[in-house]
């Protein structure tokens, strides 16, 4: 756990050191997914449990990229997102997105599932996934 945290911290510092564009978050889907573009409001629907059309894949709880993502697509902090999900979970309406420890693992999970949607650091993108939205 601490290793993950320090790795995240290191990558955050690294991201801050390089030009701002390298810290961009991109929303990705599988190559098999027919979607080509998406607005951030649409993307947030899947991560806030409002639509089941895509299956969201999340970054680690407490990670910098996760906090930044929810802030950018929904203007919500981690506690607000948690409260929202606790409504859905404890009424048996939905289960929260599965979490993966880093962008590489998220990318792998998204690549393997045509219905999955995830978000990763732009620098982690390769041709196994398709970028449908870039968050400035």
């Amino acid at each position: 756990m601490k290793k993950i945290a320090s790795a995240l911290l290191l990558s955050a510092i690294a991201a801050a050191a390089v030009p701002a564009s390298a810290a961009e978050i991109v929303v990705i889907v599988s190559k098999q997914n027919p979607a080509t573009r998406m607005f951030s409001e649409q993307a947030s629907q899947f991560f806030l449990g409002k639509s089941n059309l895509f299956t969201p894949v999340d970054q680690a709880d407490g990670s910098a990229i996760r906090n930044e993502f929810y802030h950018k697509v929904a203007d919500k902090d981690a506690a607000q997102v948690k409260a929202l999900w606790s409504k859905l979970v404890f009424t048996g309406k939905a289960t929260p997105p599965k979490e993966y420890p880093n962008s590489a693992e998220v990318k792998k999970a998204v690549a393997a599932d045509p219905k999955a949607i995830g978000y990763i650091d732009k620098s982690a993108v390769d041709d196994t996934v398709k970028v449908i939205l870039t968050l400035p």
């Binding site: 409001e41 607000q80 409260a83 606790s86 048996g92 289960t95």
Partner: protein, 405 residues
């Protein structure tokens, strides 16, 4: 005894937590939980303040029973479209100690991306927050306003529900319909207090539209309440029958099953740090029964300063008449006439609430809330009231920590 039970529940939760982190987590089983550790106190021992259907209220000494609860939930994903969920909830309800109930247990089948069906014990969405009213962390306020949530005793039913979800552009529409049989206990606060058992075939529908940070919801539910053992009512109807008012007695009683309808409209918003929640509901008897018709509403407004969210709310419950008119001949027996008239009158109450929620740590929220309760007719919704009634304002101070895991 109470403390032992709670400690056991907390231990069980901790065990479940570590089990989840270990062998049980095969990716298909998820165990989660929620709870509140709270303490509350009022400014008087003349009456007690309680949540709806609670046998023990709080008076002028600190008590943990008002808001403290613990819920544990397990979901097992059988395959892509089928899952099973069970939830148990420990709290102080109709007994004088903490009890644990199976709040729901159902199999959920995902028919497609927009439709799912649940079969088993499912939650009944009578009002806006009915289905998450026990999850403190999911709510802004410390507890659901009793003026509104005291109108309906039904929390779950054994049957089925269907959920439909569709996006019309930026508008997210959800519909839920349910049918089943609800069973449960009711705390009857009259006299020394007693419990009654109800059985109620119930059905209803709820429609909600969500547009960005705004949600609007309308719902209607009907229940055919059958209760045989409300002791004070049975005593009254026996007396009425014995003195020749058999028709009035059969109008008053719940023992033959009486239809009650609940209609509500409510909404929530979380817009630019302004957090709001408001609701209006009516309870109407569709058969002749002693239970008075009621109108209730509440409105809450808060503002989020980062992690700190202060809020104010006002809640009101008022009578809206009775389905029964006592026969004129009853006036010849003044004591009985007055008793029936009192029974057919609704309790009325308003409350002003100020509070603050502070999300001070991950998955933890601290709440402090002050309720200023103004009892109206029939001593409002307070319990253990003196025979002469109670009309003075009651102040209730509560603090608690809500958690989810």
């Amino acid at each position: 005894m109470k403390k032992h039970l709670l400690a056991a529940a907390v231990l069980a939760a901790t065990a479940a937590l570590s089990a989840q982190a270990g062998v049980l987590d095969d990716g298909n089983l998820s165990i989660s939980g929620f709870g509140t550790v709270g303490v509350a106190q009022s400014n008087t021992d003349d009456v007690k303040f309680a949540r709806y259907n609670q046998a023990d209220g709080v008076g002028n000494s600190a008590r943990i029973g008002l808001d403290t609860n613990l819920g544990l939930q397990a979901t097992y994903k059988i395959n892509d479209w089928l899952s099973g969920t069970a939830q148990v909830l420990t709290r102080k309800a109709t007994e004088h100690s903490f009890t644990t109930d199976l709040t729901w247990a159902f199999l959920k089948a995902r028919i497609n991306d927009e439709v799912s069906v649940r079969v088993g014990r499912v939650v009944v969405p009578t009002f806006l927050i009915s289905d998450y009213q026990n999850v403190g962390y999911a709510n802004t306020m410390m507890r659901p306003p009793i003026e509104m949530y005291g109108q309906a005793p039904i929390e779950n039913s054994d049957g089925a529900d269907i959920n439909y979800q569709h996006a019309f552009g930026d508008l997210n529409f959800t519909a839920q319909a349910f049918a089943g049989v609800s069973r449960g206990k009711l705390f009857v606060s009259t006299g020394a207090g007693s419990t009654a058992t109800y059985r109620a075939p119930a059905r209803g529908i709820s429609l909600a539209g969500e547009y960005g940070p705004f949600l609007l919801r309308v719902a209607h539910a009907r229940a055919d309440m059958e209760i045989n053992d409300i002791q004070p009512i049975n005593a009254l109807t026996n007396t009425l029958t014995s003195v020749g008012f058999g028709q009035l007695a059969s109008d008053i009683t719940f023992s033959t099953g009486k239809k009650i309808a609940f209609t509500s409209i409510g909404g929530t918003m979380d817009w630019n740090n302004v957090v709001g929640q408001a609701e209006y509901a009516q309870r109407r008897a569709k058969d002749k029964v002693y239970l008075p018709d009621t109108n209730a509403w509440y409105a809450m407004l808060g503002y989020r300063f980062g992690k700190v969210l202060p809020y104010y709310a006002h809640a009101s419950a008022k009578g809206a008449g009775s389905s029964i008119t006592a026969p004129a001949a009853l006036a010849k027996i003044p004591a009985l006439n007055a008793g029936v008239a009192n029974l057919l009158t609704s309790a009325e109450q308003t409350t002003d609430i100020v509070g603050v929620r502070w999300d001070f740590a991950k998955q933890l929220a601290l709440k402090v809330q002050v309720d200023r309760v103004k009892p109206g007719a029939k001593s409002g919704l307070l319990i253990n009231v003196p025979a002469a009634g109670y009309t003075k304002d009651v102040t209730v101070v509560a603090a608690g920590v809500d958690f989810v895991f």
